[in-house]
C-alpha cells in the first residue's frame, strides 16, 4: 500500500517549479505622510546621438488573429525626427529622504491590443493595481518576470475581464512577455513615490509636484541602458534637464 501511494504521487505529481500566482495583494499601508503637491517641476528632453536604426516591423504572421494597428512597429528603440527618444523612464532615484506617499487608488491599465502591449513602457507606484486587459480576439498569456517581486504568468483569452495584479516592491525595467506571441513585450517600472514620467514621441517629459531640493534623476531605457544626473528644484523656476543616449555597442 505504501508503494502504491508513493508511486501514485510520483506519477501524477510533477514537481511544480513556478510559484502559483495569487490574487493581487496590495502593499501594507506605509502610513503616507507627504503629498505630491510641491511647487517643483522638472522638464526635459532625451535625445539620441548618432544615426538611429530604421523602425523594424513586427512579424505577426504566425497568428492570423493578430491584426496589427496601422504603423505598428517594434518599440524597442523609437527615435523621433528631432532625435527625441520615446519610452525612456525618468524617475527620482534619490533625494526624497524619508518622505512617503499614498498609493493611488486609480489603477494603471495595460492593454493587449493589436498583439502588442500598450503602453510599451509605463510606471506605477509600489502597491498600485495594474489592470491587464486583452482587447484582441486572440489568446495571450501575460508573463511578468521580476527580480524583486513575485513572478506571475496567466493565460488570457479574448472576452474575459481584465485581470488585476500588483507589485509590492520597487523595481526598474520589470519585463512582461507573451509566450504565445514572442514579439510582445512591455516594461513596468515600480517606484515608491509618484515622481516619474515616460518620454513622449518627441523625447520630452515632465515631473510635477516635487518639494524643493536636489534630486538624482535616473533615466532607464530597455536598449540604451541607464544614466543619471543631479537636478536642483527650487520651487520657483522650472528645473530643466537634457540628456542623450548613444547606441549601446
Amino acid at each position: 500500500m505504501a508503494i502504491t501511494v508513493v508511486l501514485a504521487a510520483a506519477g501524477c505529481g510533477g514537481a511544480s517549479n513556478q510559484p502559483a500566482s495569487s490574487a493581487p495583494t496590495a502593499a501594507p499601508p506605509a502610513a503616507p505622510t507627504d503629498k505630491a503637491d510641491g511647487p517643483g517641476v522638472i522638464a526635459g528632453t532625451i535625445t539620441f546621438e548618432g544615426t538611429p536604426p530604421a523602425a523594424r516591423p513586427l512579424p505577426m504572421d504566425s497568428d492570423p488573429k493578430c491584426i496589427p494597428e496601422p504603423g505598428a512597429a517594434s518599440e524597442v528603440l523609437v527615435v523621433g525626427p528631432d532625435k527625441g527618444v520615446k519610452n525612456v523612464f525618468v524617475y527620482v532615484k534619490d533625494g526624497l529622504g524619508a518622505r512617503t506617499y499614498a498609493v493611488p487608488a486609480t489603477p494603471v491599465m495595460l492593454e493587449q491590443r493589436g498583439c502588442r502591449y500598450v503602453p510599451h513602457v509605463f510606471g506605477v507606484q509600489a502597491g498600485q493595481t495594474i489592470q491587464v486587459a486583452n482587447n484582441d480576439t486572440t489568446l495571450h498569456n501575460v508573463h511578468a518576470l521580476p527580480k524583486n517581486n513575485r513572478e506571475f504568468n496567466f493565460g488570457q483569452p479574448a472576452n474575459v475581464p481584465a485581470v488585476p495584479r500588483v507589485f509590492d516592491k520597487p523595481e526598474i525595467g520589470l519585463p512582461f512577455r507573451c509566450d504565445v506571441h514572442g514579439w510582445m513585450s512591455a516594461y513596468v517600472n515600480v517606484v515608491a513615490h509618484p515622481f516619474f514620467a515616460v518620454t513622449s514621441d518627441t523625447g520630452n517629459f515632465e515631473i510635477k509636484g516635487l518639494p524643493p531640493g536636489t534630486y538624482t534623476i535616473e533615466l532607464w531605457h530597455e536598449r540604451l541602458g541607464t544614466q543619471s544626473q543631479p537636478v536642483t528644484v527650487d520651487g520657483k523656476t522650472l528645473a530643466t534637464m537634457k540628456a542623450s543616449f548613444k547606441q549601446a555597442s
Binding site: 502504491t4 501514485a8 510533477g14 513556478q18 502559483a20 483569452p157
Partner: protein, 148 residues
C-alpha cells in the same frame, strides 16, 4: 512467490497512477513517455481564474536552449509543455504554432494561471521537443467546466 507479490503490487500501483491521471490520452504503445494534467482533472468544475499544472513521465522537462537550433541539435528525451485552450491534440511530428490557442512553456515551467469564460472548455497539454515539434502520444486532453 515473493517476486510475484512485488510485481502485482507494482502493477496495481501503476494502474492507480494511470487512473488518477485521467483524461483522454493519445499515447500509442511504445511511446517514450506521457504528459498529463496534475490539476485540474478531467470533468472538474473550476473557477474563472484557475491554476493549471502539468506533469510528465518518461521524459525530462527542460527549458528550450537559446538561439536558433538545427534538427541535429535537438536534445533527445527533453521536452517542454504547451497548453492548448479549447482545442485538441495535434498530430505527431508537427510544429506547435506560436499562435492562438497554444501557450508555450519554453522556460521549462509547468504551472500557469488560466482565465476562462464561464462554461465548458477543452484543455490540451502537448509536449514539444526543442523545435516545438509534437511527440508521439505525448498529449492529453481534458474537459472542464468553468463556474459562473
Amino acid at each position: 512467490m515473493g517476486n510475484r507479490i512485488v510485481r502485482a503490487v507494482v502493477l496495481g500501483a501503476w494502474t492507480l497512477v494511470v487512473a488518477a491521471c485521467g483524461g483522454a490520452e493519445t499515447r500509442p504503445a511504445g511511446a517514450a513517455g506521457t504528459v498529463f494534467f496534475v490539476s485540474p482533472k478531467n470533468g472538474d468544475t473550476i473557477k474563472p481564474m484557475s491554476t493549471i499544472e502539468f506533469g510528465s513521465t518518461g521524459a525530462t522537462v527542460s527549458p528550450v536552449p537559446k538561439g536558433e537550433l538545427t534538427p541535429e541539435q535537438v536534445r533527445a528525451g527533453m521536452i517542454h509543455y504547451h497548453l492548448g485552450v479549447d482545442t485538441d491534440c495535434l498530430a505527431a511530428g508537427v510544429a506547435i504554432p506560436k499562435a492562438d490557442p497554444w501557450i508555450h512553456f519554453g522556460d521549462g515551467k509547468n504551472v500557469i494561471e488560466q482565465a476562462l469564460a464561464p462554461g465548458p472548455h477543452r484543455l490540451a497539454v502537448q509536449a514539444g521537443d526543442d523545435l516545438h515539434r509534437t511527440l508521439p502520444g505525448m498529449c492529453q486532453v481534458i474537459n472542464v467546466t468553468v463556474a459562473p
